[in-house]
Subunit: 200 residues, 2 copies
C-alpha cells in the first residue's frame, strides 16, 4: 500500500491540482474531502498525512490556481507584445472564460468564499492578487492617484464583470457586461482612446 516518497509527493501535487479545480467549481464548502481525494485517485484516509486540515488545502489550492491563472495571463501577454493588456482582456472578458469556472479566474470563482475564510486563505489571495496588479501596472502609465491605482481599478473592473456575467442567466446580458468592461478598460488605459468597435 505504501508508495515511494517521490510518488507520494506527486500524489500530493495531484490533490492540490484537483482541489484547485474543484474548489473553483463548487466553492470551498461545496465539495468534500472524499470527492477531492477521489478526484486524485485516492481515498479520504490519506488526506491528513498530506494536509493539516481542509483549510490548509484550501490555502494551497488557492495559491495553485492563482499562480496558474496568472500564468495564463503571461502566456496571453507574450502572444501580443505590442498590446499585452488587450490580449489578456480578449480571453478574460469572454463568454468562454465565464463558462469555464474550474479553469478560470480564482478571484471570481472564490472571491466571495475567500472573504469568509481564515487569514491563511486571505494571505494567499493577497499575494496572488498583488501579482495581477503588478502585471497590469507594467502595462499602463500611472494616473496621479497612486502608483497602482489604475491597475487596481482595471483589475476590479475585470473581476467584477466576470462575476456579474456569471451571476445572470441571460447570455446577452453576460456579454454586455464583458463588452462594457472591455470598453471601459481600453478607454481608461489608452491615452489616445482606441475606438471600441460595434457591439458583437
Amino acid at each position: 500500500m505504501r508508495v515511494s516518497r517521490a510518488q507520494a509527493d506527486e500524489n500530493r501535487q495531484t490533490v492540490i491540482n484537483v482541489a484547485s479545480r474543484l474548489f473553483r467549481e463548487h466553492g470551498f464548502d461545496g465539495i468534500g474531502l472524499k470527492d477531492l481525494m477521489a478526484g486524485a485517485g485516492m481515498t479520504q484516509g490519506a488526506f491528513y498525512k498530506q494536509f493539516e486540515s481542509k483549510d490548509d488545502l484550501a490555502a494551497q489550492a488557492s495559491q495553485r490556481s492563482l499562480e496558474n491563472a496568472l500564468g495564463r495571463w503571461t502566456t496571453a501577454a507574450a502572444s501580443k507584445p505590442e498590446d499585452p493588456l488587450l490580449a489578456v482582456i480578449d480571453f478574460y472578458l469572454s463568454l468562454g472564460h465565464c463558462a469555464d469556472k474550474a479553469d478560470g479566474c480564482p478571484m471570481v470563482a472564490l472571491g466571495s468564499d475567500a472573504a469568509r475564510h481564515g487569514p491563511d486563505v486571505r494571505a494567499t489571495f493577497e499575494s496572488g492578487i498583488r501579482g495581477y496588479v503588478d502585471m497590469l501596472g507594467g502595462w499602463m502609465a500611472p494616473d496621479g492617484n497612486g502608483a497602482d491605482s489604475k491597475a487596481m481599478a482595471v483589475l476590479s473592473t475585470m473581476v467584477g464583470a466576470v462575476l456579474l456575467a456569471r451571476a445572470v442567466n441571460d447570455e446577452q446580458m453576460s456579454k454586455s457586461f464583458l463588452q462594457a468592461a472591455a470598453a471601459s478598460v481600453v478607454t481608461q488605459t489608452s491615452t489616445n482612446a482606441t475606438p471600441v468597435g460595434p457591439r458583437q
Copy 2:
C-alpha cells in the same frame, strides 16, 4: 403550537430577512437550515411548511437582500441629489461596507455562490442586477458603446473592488482598491473630470 395566519406570514418574512443576512455572511453552503430557523426563533421542523427547499429560500433571500441593498442606494442618492453617484460611491467603496458583509452588497457577498447555483437564484440575481444598472444608468450619459455600457462598467468596477478588498488581509491594500475604484468611476463618468483628492 399553531399561530395565526398573520403571525405565520410574519414568521416567514423574518426567516427570509434572517437568511438574507446569514447567507451573505456565511454563503449558501456555509449555514444550515437549523441555524437559519433558530435565527428566526423557530425550529427546523417548521421550514418545509414555509419553503419548498433550501434553494427556494436562497432565491427569496437573495431577492430580499438585492432589494434592501438597492434601497440603501436610493437613500444615499436622495441625500445628495446634485451628485447621487458620489453619494453611493461614498458608502459603497468604504472600509465600513467591506467590514459589514451581512448587511452589505449581495453581489459581492454571494456573487461567486450565485454563479454555482440553480437558475432560480441566478434569475433573482439577474433582475436584481438590472436594478443597479438602471439606477446607475440614470446618473450618467451614454458613451456610444450601447445604452448601459458605462453603467455596467461602473457596477463591475465597484463590485470587483469590494470583492478584492475583502479577499485580502492588508487593510491598506483594501483601501487602495476602494480608492482606485472611486477615482476610476469618477473619471469615467464626469466629463469635466473632477479631481479625486489626496490619498486618505
